[in-house]
Structure formats: C-alpha cells, structure tokens
Symmetry: C2
Subunit: 331 residues, 2 copies
DNA sequence: ATGAAAGCGCTAACAC
DNA sequence: GTGTTAGCGCTTTCAT
C-alpha cells in the first residue's frame, strides 16, 4: 500500500500541493477553513511527512548526534535521560554513535555526522582524544559542538563538566576532616582533562592540609593499565587509612580487592566522586561527592540548542557537586 | 564554505554527475582509471555524500530505530552495546527514542519512525503496552519489528527474551537446594509477559518441591506500586529465610530494607535474575541467574537485519541463562 | 564506458 | 488566499 503524500492529499481535495504543505505547517496565508479541511484529510488518510524529503529540501536534518566513548553503566543512562529531557520537546531526533574509545572511530563518526547533515553534536570524547582538531570540520560546516563529561578544554568549543577540581578537593577534605592521613588516590587516564582537574583538587587539598607526599600515593588505572596486581601489592604493603576514587567505575574495579584484603570497611575509609547510585548499592554505604549525569546531559543539550539557535558564545559550564556524608565517613 | 557535491566533482573532472556517482559506488561499468581519479578527487575535496538526498532518492533511510521504555542502568547499556556490535558494521545508523513507559508516547514514536522511513524497529515495550496493535502500521509499511527484553508475545512479530521461566525455576531451585523453605518472591508488573513467565517458573519450582502456598509469598513492586512500607511490614512479620528477585532493579529497591532490618546476609538467602554485574557490587555477593543484555541486544539486532533482508519467518528466541553460584547461596 | 535527463516528496519564491 | 514552478543532491533508466 503506497503511502499518502502531499500530492495525494492535493488531488483528493482539489488543491495545490503547496497549499497542502502550507496548511499543514500553519502558514498564516492559508484560510482557517482550508487548514482544517487539509488537517482532517491528513489524519483520515494517515498522512505522515517524509522527513528525508523535508529536511533534504530545507537543507537541515532535525538530527542531533550523540557521540559516546563507551557503555558505562553508571553514567550513560542518566546522561541520556538528561539530554532526552530537553531534546524530546525540541522537535529534534537523537542519532547515537559509540566511538569505543578510539580516535579513528571518532573521526569516522564525525564524517558520518556531516553526511547526515546533523544540526548539532554532543560528544563525550574518547580516552585517546587529546585535542579538538577533528572538530573543526564540524565548526567549518556551521555545526555547533558541545562536549560533555569527558571534554578537552578549548576556547573554540563549549564544554560541560562537573566542578572537577572542587569535587576532588571536597572529597579529599572529607577524609582529612575524619582524621585520615595516609591517603591513596585512584585516578583514571592522566592525559584526560577530567583526570588532571580532579588530581589537582586532590593534591591541592593535601598540600593545604600540610600532608606530605610520603603520606599519600596515587595510582592510575585505565584501559590497558588495569594492573590491579600492582595495586594489590601496594595495598598490602602500605597501611592506607583512606582511599579516594575519582569515579564510580574505578571504585567498582578496586572494590573486590579491598574486600579480599579485608581492608574495607574496618581499616580503610573511602570517598568517591559518584553519580550517587553506586554508594547505595554497596554495604556499608560510602560517603561521596555526588554529581548528576542528568544535569550534565540536560545542561549540555540546552547549551547545544542555544548554539543551534545562533547564540555564539563559547562557554565552559561547571555543574556543582555536593558532599553526601553518610553517618560516618564509611557508613 | 559550500560543501562539495557530486556536481562539483563532475565539473572539476569534466565528467557527468552520473559517472561520479557510479564511480564512487564502484559500479562495474566504470573504468578503473576513472574510478581512481574520482575517488582521489573526492578525498581531496572532502566530498561527503548527503545521506538525506541519497536515502530520499532510494526510498529508504539507513536508519534502525531503537525504542526503549526507560533509562534502566542495569540493562540498557549492555543491551545497546549488543545492538551496536551488530549495527556498527551493517551500514545502518541507530536513531533512539524513549517511550517513558507511556503507550501514547510509544505510538507517537512509531509515527515518527514512519516519518523517518526507518528500515527496522527494535523495541522494548512500555509497561503500559499490552498488545501489538500499534505495530501493524509498521508491518503494513513493510518495516520489520523485533521486540526485545520487554515483549508481547504475538505470532506476527519476532521477539527476543531470556528463557524467563527456566531462569526463575532454576533460581528458585537453588534456594530450595540450599534448604530454604520460606521463600518470598519479589516481582514486577504482573501484566507484563516477562513477569508472568518468571512467576510461572517460580511457582512451578515450588509446587514441584511440594512447597505449599503457606510457605511462600509474592509481592509485586512496580511503577506506582512501589509500596516498600507494606513490604517492610511483611518482612518484619514473617520469618522468610530466602528471597527471590526477578530482576536487578527490584533487588536494588528492596536491598536497603533488607539491610535496615538486619535480614541480609545472616538470616536471609537471596537469589536474583541479574545481568551479572550487580551481584559483584554488593557485599556479600549473591548467587544469581545470569542473563546477558549484550546477547539479547545482539541476537535481536541480528534477527532484525535478517528480516530486513527479507527473511520472513517470525521467531520467538530465548537466550539461555546460567546459574552463578557464589560459594554459598548468599556469599 | 560515459552522458542526458528525469524524478524521489517536499517547500518557497514568485505569480496572480 | 491559492496556484505555478523550480529545485534541494542524488541515483538510475535509457540512450549513445
């Protein structure tokens, strides 16, 4: 069964296709009576616009691309929910790609976005992305880009993150306030902006409290450097009384080791920067610096829509985090 | 800067647009030399096809729609990863929608899919969807539909789930095998196929082991019936020695209550049907029936591609689950 | 092996 | 307030 198009409606109502088109899009020129006739017929004959034809003609696409590096269970769903909450009523649809943490894949996807004539791009960059060079094709094509969560700072592109440095500072401070002195910091890929900033907050807090380097240590765990054996060795040898995790994922990676060594909860206090779900899924619950994936997604999508509407200022937006202190530092 | 189109390349190489088009798509008529000239120029001048124009002309779209009911952190990322793993090399792109568990939203989205001329639909139905009537517009338009995870059984549409009944049976059996007799079953929306089947497996196992109704109980927790107070009352009054959860989400909802009442881990054994991540995020770990969201997504996407390629048989595929027994029933 | 020309469904500039 | 017409970028039939 062939689907009804504007032409078909035009024939049925003895009107010109352009009149149908205008009536359906509430063009002021068209008389109310014609409009209602057309709309009635459209419903009766199940008319649905062909968006490819429309967007092709209009030289846009109604599409917003979301590019994600991976399938992170802690963050992605909330992030997407936030994005969706603003996109759903904007008339845009969301086309989604996964870069699998590969910069090459990321470049391919960006080409694909151009082929799709997307009108805006939300991207959380891959672990192996260290500059924004490959975004310029988008910029040059007039397609706004907003980075979120995993970002590269650049004066040319808007980004939305949490207040990484403050978050790490406050988390570390919470440990110190609870009389912890030997602190182990667990961080991700040190080349990422997100890691640099959280690390800076961590270190600044320690130095503000006159905690010397001999009394803290840092381990980087990421990708091909998931060497938990080394970490285990370290945990066995050094009597850390607290561990700071820069993320949920890292905590979850190390958590089994902490249990295995009987360090948690008795001997070691823990603080993590977290989306606020994980801390309630373990026992005992842990204090954490709560950040909201939903807020990041929402804010980024709003910023993108603004840029798509022509607002040209580049911003770096930081979403505030809050300390959630559960009874004691580790309960 | 105007983007290079086929016409531009044609002018540059003094060839006809149609020759360019054919060369780029490796048409056998075109001479190898012409092909390489064209391809070289395409790269040099950053030619990227306009997919709207192409698909519009070809009367298809290169799009597969994914319709999800909600943002479930336990399942969605794995599911998407499975789907993505097959779609990524198929030349199709994924356009994603969330129904927010509303049947009206679901219908709107289906219209939208038609407007987008999507070539296939993967759908996990909303909690308020009880039949497949609204899928017929897709079927009539020749667009294959594959349901996954949350499905409605229908002879007209393919579906992919886990072996719900067997999974629930085996989970329950594991509790009984560990000498548990007073079992509480926690289930979701009883109108959903998924709940019916898991419930059937649960009950069948109990009846096979001659456990009478006085020795087990069932609580439904879903959506607007998240009455954990009632559940807490029940847990307080009845000395259950085991709880069966039909899903990760339900477990996570009730887990705090179990801790609060000091029932877990000493007094109560737990089994859940789970994606296999959650059990390692709590302490102590729990035995579970492991199902793979990745497998479901992958299998559903494969089935969809097959149907898109013209294979017409409707199937109901069940993905096998396995019991993961952790040391004892609750460790 | 290449060119010419039509047309996918829709919108918008221009008539009247 | 409605009709006429052209054309978005691409593919494809038909012609050469």
């Amino acid at each position: 069964m062939k689907r009804t198009g504007i032409k078909d409606l035009a024939k049925l109502l003895s009107l010109n296709p352009s009149t149908i088109s205008r009536a359906l899009s509430d063009h002021p020129d068209i008389s109310p009576e014609t409009k209602s006739r057309v709309k009635k017929a459209a419903i009766e004959f199940n008319y649905l616009p062909n968006l490819h034809a429309r967007y092709f003609r209009q030289k846009n696409s109604g599409l917003i691309a979301l590019i994600l590096p991976e399938f992170n269970m802690f963050f992605i769903p909330e992030l997407m929910e936030g994005i969706n909450s603003v996109i759903v009523n904007s008339g845009y649809s969301m086309i989604i790609f996964f870069s699998d943490n590969s910069i090459e894949r990321e470049k391919e996807i960006i080409s694909h976005c151009l082929s799709w004539v997307v009108e805006g791009v939300l991207i959380s960059v891959s672990e192996n992305t260290f500059d924004c060079d490959h975004f310029y094709v988008l910029k040059n094509a007039g397609i706004p880009v907003v980075m979120l969560d995993k970002v590269i700072f650049s004066p040319e592109f808007t980004s939305v993150t949490i207040d990484d440095k403050v978050a790490a500072f406050n988390g570390t401070k919470h440990l110190i306030d609870n009389d912890k002195q030997n602190i182990l910091g667990i961080f991700g890929n040190p080349r990422l902006e997100i890691t640099k900033n959280r690390l800076a907050g961590f270190k600044e807090c320690l130095s503000n409290h006159h905690i010397l380097h001999s009394d803290y240590d840092i381990v980087y765990l990421y990708h091909d450097f998931m060497n938990t054996d080394v970490l285990e060795e370290k945990l066995r040898k050094t009597p850390f009384d607290a561990v700071f995790f820069m993320s949920d994922e890292l905590f979850m990676t190390v958590y089994p080791t902490l249990l295995k060594l009987n360090l948690f909860p008795e001997k070691t206090s823990i603080v993590a920067i977290s989306d606020g779900k994980m801390p309630y899924q373990i026992y005992p619950r842990i204090s954490h610096i709560k950040h909201s994936g939903f807020e990041i997604g929402k804010t980024a999508a709003e910023a993108l829509l603004r840029r798509m509407q022509g607002v040209s200022e580049i911003q770096h937006i930081e979403i505030e985090t809050t300390l959630v202190s559960l009874e004691s530092v580790f309960i």
